[in-house]
């Protein structure tokens, strides 16, 4: 929980999120036009999507299954009967004058999401509901000084609106919620979670109350915030704004606000104020949606292992720390990669290499784990060379860099560059003798009590052997020699 310190005392944030997630499907929710992102203007549009007279919607079975799959992934109640309603409003990118949505009887009811917080703790946030609805078209306001351009390619694409309970108390928790929801959707394959292309968008509901007050304050809704970072910034700004109003004796008006990325502020969207009477009614073009319990069971049986279960298994089976496990399971591809590396090896060592060196290198190269220049097998072989003492951990980092650059296997690089660890006692002793002889003054200082010099000798011998001396043996032999 993060507290906003006002001039008259502390305040608590109450946050709920509405997420619009585009269903992964080939065709739209009620028509046979493509749901693909982009495309030439109005190329992915059927007469249904453009609301020509007499056109009738026919629902896409896969979109229904995807909603059920998502509901099951959120441990939510699946409603075997749900109803489609018309939500009426006028806007240039909504040709029919109504959006087909679900109001009183959504397809998915109450569920929950477990948040992984930075300090390693977890927190449960309730899901209120999930319903299916159509996306609207796209308006472009910057193409002409006098006109708005409308492209209906998005019109009719299936969305899942996922509504949370007002259970979050800070921007960090809101961010953790979005990350976890995104991970679950991606594991399930029901939404690609791409916030940049708008396939996942968040509306933030925020109100403030005195710490300890059980009553909720008046909330504002901040629309369409399109990145997790902006969600956190918008929450910080809006919380401060509301506290200032409340402390100066004013009242917060319930309204829809817009996050202005450029200015870093939220501002009122007055144009939407009067349109809030949507006059929902059941769509007479569509019968109630009845699900076969057998279909729900079939989907349940094909659910993949989800992030929470995978994380628990990684902690249990590989002895990972909660934080490392969370990092690895955030993307299914990373988790799969890690498991290949860790199989039959030291799980913690494998985790260090994947989250440390590998993620670092991928970040630097701007590549995803799917196109990693070092495969899981290749990284595994490198770790094997550390495990059997062929090379030290230090040298392994250099070998890894060479693997990234050349794509060669670890063993070939070790042979080529002669990096094999020196485990020959005689060779290490010779190197130690040479360093001690060249630094007789420091040896005397050490022997008169300056223990810190030990590190200096280790460094010098390592340098002399090109970093190849086995560190444990070196420590041992050097200790004996210095004792005299």
């Amino acid at each position: 929980m993060s507290i906003v310190q006002g001039t008259t005392g502390p305040w608590e944030m109450v946050i709920g999120l509405e997420v619009h997630a585009q269903v992964t499907s080939e065709a739209k929710l009620f028509s046979g036009a493509s749901a693909a992102f982009g495309g030439a203007p109005n190329a992915h549009v059927s007469l249904v999507d453009a609301a020509f007279p007499g056109m009738l919607p026919v629902i896409n079975g896969t979109c229904v299954e995807q909603a059920v799959r998502t509901g099951l992934g959120l441990k939510a109640q699946i409603n075997l009967t749900s109803v489609f309603d018309r939500k009426n409003y006028f806007y240039a990118d909504l040709p029919s004058g109504y959006q087909i949505s679900q109001y009183l009887q959504p397809i998915v009811g109450k569920g929950e999401i477990l948040l992984d917080l930075a300090d390693g703790s977890t927190r449960t946030v309730g899901i209120t509901r999930l319903h299916l609805e159509q996306d609207a078209g796209k308006s472009m306001h910057d193409q002409s000084p006098t006109e708005t351009y409308v492209d209906l390619n998005r019109s009719g694409v299936a969305l899942m609106e996922i509504v949370s309970e007002p259970d979050m108390r800070s921007g960090e928790e809101a961010a953790a919620y979005l990350k976890k929801l995104r991970a679950i959707l991606r594991y399930l394959g029901t939404c690609d979670g791409n916030m940049e292309e708008g396939s996942m968008r968040a509306d933030v509901n925020l109100s403030m109350r005195r710490v300890g007050d059980p009553k909720l304050g008046t909330r504002c809704e901040i629309k369409n915030v399109n990145s997790i970072r902006f969600v956190m910034q918008a929450i910080e700004y809006e919380a401060q704004r509301q506290v200032e109003i409340l402390e100066s004796g004013g009242t917060v008006h319930q309204e829809t606000r817009l996050w202005d990325t450029g200015k870093g502020v939220t501002r009122s969207m007055r144009s939407k104020e009067e349109a809030h009477d949507y006059r929902y009614f059941p769509d007479p073009d569509l019968l109630p949606l009845k699900l076969d319990p057998a279909m729900v069971e079939k989907i349940k049986a094909t659910l993949p292992e989800l992030p929470d279960e995978k994380r628990a298994r990684f902690i249990r089976d590989f002895g990972l720390k909660a934080y490392d496990a969370s990092v690895l399971v955030a993307e299914r591809a990373s988790a799969d990669f890690y498991e290949k590396v860790a199989k039959g090896r030291d799980g913690k060592l494998a985790a260090n290499w994947v989250t440390g060196e590998l993620f670092g290198a991928l970040n630097r190269l701007g590549k995803g784990i799917e196109s990693s220049p070092v495969s899981a097998e290749a990284l595994g072989s490198l770790i094997d060379l550390i495990a059997d003492a062929t090379i030290s951990n230090r040298i392994a980092k250099d070998v890894f860099e060479a693997m990234i650059e050349t794509g060669k296997p670890a063993s070939a690089i070790v042979e080529e560059k002669g990096l094999r660890q020196v485990t020959d006692t005689g060779a290490i002793e010779a190197a130690i003798d040479q360093i001690l002889a060249a630094n007789a003054d420091k040896v005397a200082e050490y022997r008169s009590g300056k223990d810190k010099l030990f590190g200096f000798f280790v460094g010098q011998v390592m340098k002399a052997t090109g970093g190849k001396a086995n560190p444990a043996m070196l420590n041992d032999l050097l200790g004996k020699k210095l004792k005299g």
Binding site: A27, V45, L47
Partner: protein, 95 residues
């Protein structure tokens, strides 16, 4: 049930219908009559009966997830009062 003139004006605005001031009183009377007629249903005791959204005893037909339509921007835009390239154009909508 009676509908007043203010309600008529509000509904007309929400539906983007132009109902002149002098006709609003008359429309209010007509709408009230329709509502009164439908309100007769309130006399029926429906205790314990689930609400019904459709009287047809049929299941909603599901479509396969296959792209079968699109690629006809020209048809889509054929009746548009105003267009540029393959976009519909409307008077600027200012946020």
């Amino acid at each position: 049930m009676s509908i007043d003139q203010t309600t008529v004006a509000r509904i007309a605005h929400l539906a983007r219908l132009k109902v002149p001031l002098e006709e609003q009183q008359q429309v209010a009377g007509e709408l009230s009559k329709i509502l009164d007629w439908v309100a007769q249903l309130n006399e029926v005791d429906v205790t314990g009966i689930e609400p019904l959204t459709n009287v047809n005893d049929m299941a909603l037909r599901l479509r396969d997830d296959v792209v079968t339509d699109g690629g006809k921007a020209e048809d889509i835009l054929a009746n548009a009062p105003s267009k540029t390239a393959d976009f519909f154009t409307v008077p600027k909508v200012i946020e």
